[in-house]
Subunit: 154 residues, 2 copies
């Protein structure tokens, strides 16, 4: 998978978190993810299709990181993964892929977005079944580190 596809996701994550949560995030170095262990406790997952390739993105937050983001965005103190948390993770997932979709369209990729699914549970694993490599992107912030995974066919 080339930088053409990855970079719009990197930009979109930073844009969405800075606009919606007033949270500046610093992208770490993308790497290939060869294991299936989730780096967090709450994951937003979304499927994407284009005319030629399809794939999926997951954004995964440790509990303490997502609780801090909920507090920044909604001014609510949450201490467990409830509907407020999963709704917000679903919304962030939508906005990030929506932002990336816009940037990808400028490069000639026309992306169809499915609706997000949010998965919770300590020690859950998320395994992308697209045939391409799974790219893991860490993002560091005042709220802590969270992760985005993108996997496309080809």
């Amino acid at each position: 998978m080339n930088a053409d596809i990855i970079n719009p996701f990197l930009s979109s994550v930073s844009n969405v978190l800075s606009t919606m949560a007033m949270l500046e995030v610093t992208p770490g170095k993308p790497s290939l993810k060869n294991d299936t262990v989730s780096r967090g406790d709450v994951s937003g997952i979304i499927g994407m299709t284009t005319a030629t390739i399809s794939g999926s993105m997951a954004i995964t937050f440790p509990e303490n990181v997502v609780f801090d983001i909920v507090n920044r965005m909604l001014g609510e103190k949450v201490t467990k993964v409830d509907d407020t948390v999963t709704d917000l993770v679903g919304e962030l997932t939508n906005m990030i892929v929506g932002g990336a979709k816009g940037l990808l369209e400028e490069k000639g990729y026309d992306i169809g977005m499915a609706t997000p699914v949010v998965v919770t549970g300590k020690d859950h694993e998320v395994i992308h079944k697209a045939k391409g490599q799974n790219i893991l992107m860490p993002f560091n912030s005042e709220a802590g580190t969270f992760y985005v995974e993108v996997c496309f066919d080809a």
Copy 2:
């Protein structure tokens, strides 16, 4: 959501399991799912898009049920959720949505399929974020009971 959309998934699950795993399945009564608790330990999730609506499907297997299905399909005895199990759940997810896609096309719905994502973990929860109702369909079989959830906007 109407029967036009649900029935192709019911048919496709039965077709795929009977063809690929020689497993006859009996669909139970579909119901609205209002909680988020996953009925199983391994879930295949796939996003779908049409020109007008988008959504997601999850197929969820308790461990003992998916182990039995692996044994029927591959002749392998597995006792833990490993790559063999998640690959097979990813494939089944693909085939079921692929089959439903064919049936839906006959009714004039043109479905774009994303690639599947497989989620594992005891007590994981899968929360569909499409705006429509989440339809839960139980399937009974000699291998045990497993569940399909379909949720579309509108």
